[in-house]
Amino acid sequence: MREITLSQAVNEAIAEEMRRDPTVFLMGEDVAEAGTPFKVLSGLVEEFGTERIIDTPISEPGFVGLAVGAAMTGARPIVDLMFGDFIYLVMDQLCNQAAKQHYMSGGKLTVPMVLRTNMGATRRSAAQHSQSLQALVAHIPGLKVAMPSSAYEAKGLMKTAIRDNNPVVIFEDKLMYQDKAPVPEEEYLIPFGEAFVKREGRDITLIATSSMVQVAEKAAMALAQEGIEAEVIDPRTIVPLDEATLIESVKKTSRAIVIDEGHQSYGVTSEIASRLNEKAFYHLDAPVMRMGAMDVPVPFSPALEDLTVPTPQAVVEAARKLCGGEMIHAA
């Protein structure tokens, strides 16, 4: 199968959906000629013109609001938010407006829009350009949240997001845009709420999102050397969450670590861990462990920044302890 980058995969998904459905359009800052600072959207304006690939002023709440209104009245907008950190600027439009229209109208209004943005630290971009804020939006009922872990997921999830009748937020890891993966030429979609078992194993379940899937896979390879067989599962969407696949795995392995690049406290890892506690408690041999980013703003200095994110080494050490029966959080 051909291999393409995550960036190309996103580009293809959007182009295919724009060809298929004339109501799909895209807007954001420097999306047209510039094709975004990460060059993900290069070439789209040549095919679809500036009527459908629209450069906006630096007015995030404004253009997200426009997307909500356009979506409520028959269009399918994709909004490009240059950095995930700018989610804070658009919270009202996203969480008070987009997320609630369907419910507040008793099911009469829909907001079929996609907000594509990014996440991920270690790019030396400091505290306001490095955050992973998926937990913030996942907290709000009415929003769906996808977190592609490779080019394959990025394409299939984007196409599903565009066809979904709800507001969907997609977080791409900005360090993965140039990573290649096999992606079929033929059309495919990835349904929301279906986790993917990346690697099978009997001893411990590593549940990981986005780029943390790579971290978990590296850890699993190292653990295999020591005779510990780790199962790696990528939920692919955190809302909706495929609980069944996660629970089934934990019933088999009896141990789990949840890895996500958002801050650990009150985060995605906490949510998944507590669901496992509630629904698989009697199958567990050890507490479910969370591994998120440190609860600090992302520091600029490389000497500090690298300490803040989960690493394969840290996962290996934690897995070893859990499998060895050591109490990690013993009082």
Binding site: A34, I58, G62, F86, R124, V296, F300, S301, L304, L307
Partner: protein, 325 residues
């Protein structure tokens, strides 16, 4: 209050400050190109007369807020090269102990409340600083620097309204360099930018941002009036950035022509223009100016070498400073 910049010493200081900014940026760009600087940075080269003309009208008690393109503001407000280069390289002796980097550099000792990586993100902070001055009966003035692109942020209109209602001592300084990232200003700004401030009853000025004397003369007047409670004010400074949007933006002909860049550099450079003025007025000789330039280059080279050799923060600092004591 700062004196009017009419004597030799003041003129030479303005010249020095502009050259210090240009030299700082040349070195920062070199650090990026030689892969010694982590991340990306935005060069202020070409816009020196804006920061210097304004900051030379301020005292250390006056505050400024800065932007992602913030090295110029930082130098102009009095910062030292050593601490600045240390910050850019993420070293412990940097102004922010390496935690902020280029986009968050701040220098409280000279009243610089910090650069900001959110476009328009400091408009509230600057206006709040002015509110504090008024509430506490202090006569300091706050200058809020931002770009033309930032005028698209709704926050500005909210804070301008309050600043005008309450006559706050804040000066909004819009550095209109013709572009926000890869887009021309006329494609993202409807109508007139000065008229937007005027709609709130705020006195607005447009000035040639490549003419340090014009910028400084205007800033002196407005700062003095703001101190007396006649603010807020708005200044649109017409200027140009010589480099790409950031140091990595090298192939940029798709949005900006080489001819246009050459025209600004050859015909409107703020340093060349001011230097010619100093010489023709007999304020300094060519030799004296060359000596100033050489001394600044030496200072910068020493500061870079110092920063390269300086230590990174200890790992224990990673969770320090999340909460104040």
């Amino acid at each position: 209050m700062a004196k009017a910049k009419t004597n030799t010493e003041d003129y030479l200081r303005m010249y020095r400050q502009m050259v210090r900014i240009r030299t700082f940026e040349d070195n920062a760009n070199q650090l990026y190109l030689s892969a010694k600087m982590p991340g990306l940075t935005h060069m202020y080269s070409g816009e020196e007369a804006v920061a210097v003309g304004i900051c030379e009208a301020l005292t250390d008690d006056d505050r400024i807020t800065s932007t992602h393109r913030g090295h110029g503001h930082c130098v102009a407000k009095g910062a030292e090269f050593k601490e600045m280069f240390c910050e850019l390289l993420g070293k412990a002796e940097g102004y922010c102990r390496g935690k902020g980097g280029s986009m968050h550099i701040a220098d409280q000792s000279h009243g610089n409340l910090g650069a900001n990586a959110i476009v328009g993100g400091s408009m509230g902070i600057a206006t709040g600083s002015a509110l504090r001055a008024k509430l506490q009966g202090s006569d300091d003035v706050t200058v809020c620097f931002f770009g033309d692109g930032a005028t698209a942020q709704g926050l500005w209109y909210e804070v301008m309204n309050m600043a005008a209602l309450w006559k706050l001592p804040v000066i909004y300084a819009c550095e209109n360099n013709g572009y926000s990232e890869y887009t021309k200003t006329e494609e993202i700004a409807a109508g007139s930018i000065t008229a937007r401030a005027e709609a709130f009853g705020i006195e607005a000025h447009q000035v040639d941002g490549q003419d340090v004397m014009a910028v400084n003369a205007l800033a002196q007047k407005l700062v003095a009036r703001a101190r007396k409670g006649e603010g807020p004010f708005f200044i649109e400074l017409m200027t140009y950035r010589y480099h790409g949007h950031h140091v990595g933006d090298i192939n940029r002909e798709y949005y900006r022509s080489k001819d246009e860049e050459k025209d600004w550099k050859d015909n409107r450079d703020p340093i060349i223009r001011f230097r010619a003025h100093l010489v023709s007025e007999g304020i300094a000789s060519e030799d004296e100016i060359d000596a100033i330039n050489a001394e600044i280059e030496k200072d910068a080279a020493e500061a870079v070498a110092y920063a390269e050799a300086a230590a990174y923060p200890d790992v224990s600092e990673v969770d320090m400073h999340v909460y104040a004591a």
